[in-house]
């Protein structure tokens, strides 16, 4: 319970900094919008084609925008030795990672919300038809992305070429999660009822989230010790 409170205070701190500077959100949001625009120029898809590729397009945009956010997550703590202070404080490594994941989750969800509006306008997709299922999917899938992002943001924070290494490492790891999210999103956009096929992918998402959250907590001290 105490570690959860610690995690929440870390997340609150990060979000407060973010609300003041808006550096990650602005960069990631602008990036997502630009990519969506470019894709609509490049393909100019009709309604049917959009429903086919919409899920894939959106989740790739979210993953790319996510990398921008995750890069800042721990790099933000480097000036003034904030990271060393955090590590030597009473906050445990697991709480720190969990807090960073929460902050990542909320920032990325904000970017996703913005992207969905832009997507709806440029691609003429009625994405709000199944709001609850879409919201549940976004939270589940984004949590997985956020945990991986927090872990590998921490792992690469001291590297030269940090901004290059992070995407190279996280995208292969995210493949199962992205496939699952894309399959379910496509079903939601074409307003199909979720059958056993989609539910299987939902299970993949759930397993991914649980396994990697647990693993991140277990290896937190290994990753964070300097």
């Amino acid at each position: 319970m105490k570690s959860l409170a610690q995690a929440l205070s870390v997340a609150r701190k990060d979000l407060a900094i973010e609300l003041r500077t808006k550096e990650s959100i602005n960069a990631a949001g602008a990036f997502a919008v630009v990519i969506l625009l470019l894709f609509s120029f490049a393909f100019d898809p009709g309604a049917d084609a959009t429903r086919e590729i919409g899920g894939g397009l959106l989740w790739l945009v979210f993953a790319f925008a996510g990398a921008l956010i995750f890069n800042r997550g721990f790099a933000r703590e480097l000036p003034n030795d904030c990271l060393d202070t955090l590590l030597s404080s009473a906050v445990s490594g697991a709480s720190l990672l969990l807090g960073k994941s929460f902050a990542n989750l909320l920032m990325l969800l904000a970017v996703e919300f913005l992207s969905l509006f832009v997507f709806g306008i440029f691609y003429d997709v009625r994405w709000w038809l199944r709001p609850l299922e879409l919201a549940a999917l976004c939270v589940l899938a984004t949590w997985g992305i956020s945990v991986i992002g927090a872990v590998f943001g921490a792992l690469t924070v001291n590297l030269r070429l940090r901004e290059l290494m992070l995407p190279v490492i996280i995208y292969p790891l995210l493949i199962p999660l992205l496939i699952a999210a894309i399959e379910i999103t496509n079903a939601l956009f074409s307003n199909r009822p979720l059958g056993s096929y989609e539910l299987l992918w939902g299970r993949v998402l759930l397993v991914f989230d649980i396994v990697f959250t647990a693993l991140a907590m277990a290896l937190a001290e290994t990753i964070l010790v300097n």
Binding site: F152, T156, L159, P176, L200, V207, F212, L219, T222
Partner: protein
Amino acid sequence: MRDKFVVALAVAAGVLLAFNLYRIFLVLPDEALQGAIYRIIFFHVPAAITGMIGYFAALLLSLAYLSFGNFRYDSLAASVVEVSVVFSVVNIVTGSIWARVIWGIWWTWDYRLTSALVCVLIFSGYLMLRRAIDEPTQRARLSAALCVFGCIDVVIVWKSIEWFRTQHPGPVLSIRTGGGRIDPAMEQMLYLNFAAILMIAIALVLIRTRQEATAREIDSLRRIANAA
């Protein structure tokens, strides 16, 4: 002592390989449906199994490093991953060439193909990460963590896509099917070539580990030189 062992292993692998190649090309007949191309299986499957054994060993070695902190586990894990990636690439390339003939396409998003590719991508990331870190303790710790994440991810990819349809031929070895899916002479050939390829892989791993030890020695000598 160790050098002699590596040389002996390499020579033995070479002899076995020459014998295998003779049998594969000149003794075994063409397969009834696939013709000559089926012979790729004698390299495709052993390379795949060698790669998988390597990744599993790397997982165990990474856990061992995280538990005991001995650098030997770390350099062994790095060597094993590097050699496994090479054999995984062999596996994918030979499979692709086989698929071009039999399926008419180079690639399909089948679960075995996908998980093999994900393996290569993740462990290439592992090798790149090792190059990006200079400090040995940090390198060992972080790459061990990545290895654990990577191996578990591969399991998830494998399991998740296995639930869905597949185009890849099912298992043929009798330890998985109880026999009857493959001609005994061909199966024996598979095991023999697996032995040869595994021996080559072990020799390569030993050479690579030796290089890691040399690199560590250079590192410590440099430190002495800098301190003096």
